[in-house]
Symmetry: C2
DNA sequence: TTCGCTGCAAACGGTTTGCACCGCG
DNA sequence: CGCGGTGCAAACCGTTTGCAGCGAA
């Protein structure tokens, strides 16, 4: 099943009484095109030609976060970056290697099911979740086989 | 099983060729005493009487992060905060309510097991993980029963 | 005695804010 | 036409850095 696209995003904004502006579409497209999460400075670089102002960019990210179109995640242990949420991007979690810094996207039903069971037990209704697993990827284990 | 305390922290520093300084002990104690994650400004307030300098505080947090005594997490969708990791604190994940903002700590074997199975499948060796589940807590569902 | 650690103060840069203008609905 | 959205520029403040002195080992 494909993820929702620009058309659905426009409808989503209308449904939430938010105006459909060129700036918001520009940001949405940049996020869709990107592989991973983007910081505001990242985004600024990618939408440079549109002349979009940085202050506006921050305000748009705040809006999209409230609407749960995106959510902020911590990058490199220090920078806030944003990534699209369902239904605008396929959900996944992250394996992050402490050695090479590479991020591996994962999606696994076992995890989703465990999570659902746990939340149900407590009567918590899930919007979305985010998980980071830190450790050593297979390649780096081979290079530093001890410990 | 209790979590490791100050004595173990001191030994940990020695094992890693790091000096045992009053400042580092002060920070460690503040983190232990705290319920949740603390930002650097938070910490600065709590260790005020010790006269610990802010720049030093940042350097200590960087060091503790590298040693994996703590790790940074995103608070309120924007601020970086630090929390102790195993074995210095009991591991747990978070349910975060979008309505009241309250955080519920959870620990559940089903999640840990699913995670281990998934990582094993990919040959990824886990140091630690962090999970945030965003949604509506039982209390807030009662107050806003629609949607 | 050595070198890691710390305090101080200045600089940096990501983020926020006030305000006037613009343009979507 | 009204009000949400935007650009601009200044301010803010969390964080980083250089350097000299201190103290843990």
């Amino acid at each position: 099943m494909a993820t929702a696209g620009e058309k659905e995003f426009i409808q989503f904004l209308r449904d939430h009484q938010m105006r459909v502006t060129p700036n918001r579409l520009t940001v949405f497209r940049a996020l869709q095109k990107s592989q991973g999460p983007l910081t505001v400075p990242d985004l600024a670089g990618r939408v440079e030609e549109s002349g979009l102002n940085t202050a506006t960019l921050y305000r748009i990210m705040e809006t999209l976060t409230e609407l749960q179109v995106v959510h902020p995640v911590l990058q490199d242990h220090q920078n806030v970056a944003y990534e699209l949420l369902e239904p605008f991007a396929r959900h996944h979690d992250h394996l992050i290697c402490r050695q090479c810094g590479r991020t591996i996207d994962i999606y696994d039903c076992r995890l989703e099911e465990a999570l659902k069971a746990i939340s149900d037990d407590r009567g918590f209704r899930i919007d979305f979740h985010q998980m980071e697993v830190h450790g050593l990827c297979p390649d780096c284990q081979r290079l530093t086989p001890h410990h």
